[in-house]
Symmetry: C2
Subunit: 322 residues, 2 copies
């Protein structure tokens, strides 16, 4: 047992980008004596086992969670409830169950009924990730200097909350605690809406290609080849997040529907105002708005959420503030 060890046994359910990174961060920082893992997909299990990042890989959920002091559910949010129901009978008394989903209200609703008395549900969300998916994409440093938000339900065990907080801090994250509803609104504007918009513009560009195929001689048509070729002009920034995992994001939008639709409504109002300014040649309105948005960027840089930013093609991304 190392000085830093918090748990005898941690179980990770679902070993994609986040689950794999949690496993590697726990091992790199000596936070658990044993990391057990289960993934519903046999192919993913085999790939993760080959990476040698967990101590035991289990074909069944029960095998992974049995005797675990901490269970980290790192599946798409849409199946968190089913996972909770399936592991219910195997959870160790006094253990903590958490998750890593980008939506918290619906996760609590789905999981809570299946958590037995004496087991502590403390949902969480590390605000970290890359556009890459799968166990191979994970890395131990993903959470360093990132925020991890915990959303303990009313009446949650304070010791369980502080133990989970220790886990995240041990992996290098800063921890914030807020209620689930507030989390879901904050993330709707900072993460969900940006992804929705990025997906849309990339799809809009793809449809231009479809037109090309129908009218190959028409010079008016912009080809996707050109969209890609000249993507350095701004489009590229959108393609990165539009490459994120489709299942994860489908679930996020469906399960944070109200907050996403509200933020989308605000965005559409603002976009319509800008469209009107262009149509009416209102340069002053455009200039005023573009000047205002600069200040937000400065805030992002000052908050050390931007700055020296790197990503590579081989599935690892990180931000190193210089």
């Amino acid at each position: 047992m190392t000085d830093t060890q918090i748990f005898d046994r941690v179980a990770i359910i679902g070993i994609g980008l986040i689950g794999s990174s949690v496993a590697q961060a726990i091992r790199a920082n000596g936070l658990a004596g044993h990391v057990a893992c289960h993934d519903a997909d046999a192919d993913v299990r085999a790939r993760a086992a080959a990476l040698d990042i967990v101590d035991s890989m289990h074909d069944d959920l029960a095998g992974a969670v049995t005797d675990a002091d901490m269970v980290v559910v790192a599946t798409p949010v849409g199946v968190c409830g089913d996972v909770a129901a399936a592991m219910r009978a195997h959870l160790k008394p006094g253990s903590i169950v958490t998750d890593v989903g980008s939506v918290k209200g619906s996760v609590i609703t789905a999981m809570s009924p299946h958590i037995p008395a004496g087991v502590h549900l403390v949902p969480g969300h590390p605000v970290a990730g890359t556009e890459h998916s799968g166990p191979e994409s994970g890395f131990a440093e993903l959470f360093q200097n990132r925020f991890s938000i915990l959303t303990p339900p009313p009446g949650a065990d304070s010791e369980a909350v502080s133990t989970l907080e220790r886990l995240w801090r041990g992996m290098g994250a800063d921890v914030e605690i807020m209620d689930a509803e507030h989390h879901d609104r904050v993330l709707a504007i900072t993460s969900h809406l940006p992804h929705l918009i990025a997906y849309t513009i990339v799809a809009t560009a793809a449809d231009l290609e479809t037109e090309l195929e129908a009218q190959p001689q028409d010079d008016e048509v912009v080809t996707t080849r050109e969209v890609i070729k000249y993507s350095a002009g701004g489009f590229r920034d959108f393609t990165r997040i539009a490459a994120s995992d489709p299942v994860m994001w489908r679930d996020v939008f469906l399960l944070n529907k109200d907050a996403v639709l509200e933020m989308l409504g605000r965005f559409t109002e603002d976009l319509t105002a800008l469209q009107r300014a262009i149509r009416k040649d209102d340069g002053d309105a455009l200039f005023e708005m573009f000047t205002r948005t600069r200040d937000i960027r400065r805030g992002v840089i000052e908050a050390r959420q931007a700055g020296r930013f790197q990503y590579t093609e081989n599935g690892k991304s990180s931000d190193d503030d210089a």
Copy 2:
């Protein structure tokens, strides 16, 4: 005179990010014997002179363009016509006039009437840049492995076009030639619409802060502090391009109005469809769309417009494909 020298004298009009980078790239690659410069802003002239990146800095436009073999107009596109009119009487017979604007049709319309017979107008657009502005932000490597698009008007002098092509290749760029109207449509989707959307979502987030000030105790309100704090969830990707120069972008939207409004219309249709899918809980439609957009990202990576990407806080950005 070096082996690589193409011109005795190049004049750069406007020394912001692009003008400064052109000056430094010309010097670094030995492409001209003398780089003269004028900027309408006395403060910018003083700052650029202090950087020691040009051979002569002129308070008046005439002083810079006199005897120049190549004039590079690197002002916001909205003033290209005025610049052409003002320098008309001072242009050297046989010289080439080009620009670097993100819109080409309106630049040709504005500049052409002022270009005397015997002087060659060959508009251009290097698809490169950063979110930073001003002469201090420029660097010699900005155009390396980037596309520079030339849009010679019908009947343009082919020798002038190929000389300008040599200049861009000498600065490390790949050169493409297309007609101005096609350029403006391609850039509307790859650059102008992405910037418009990024400006909008950053403004939408800023408005949430205004609400907070009105209702400081309301937990429902998301603060801009939180928007910034959790920007790693996706929002950050938008703030970068929303920090770009307000004057430049005001001019781009006003001068490429038709193509921008068309692409915006397509985007809004697609966004509305996605909004409807969320409202109707149509997970299949979301999944299908999100899967499709991944392919575009792969194309961007393969085209070497993405990959290893870096930017820093000190005003220099570059893409190095690993």
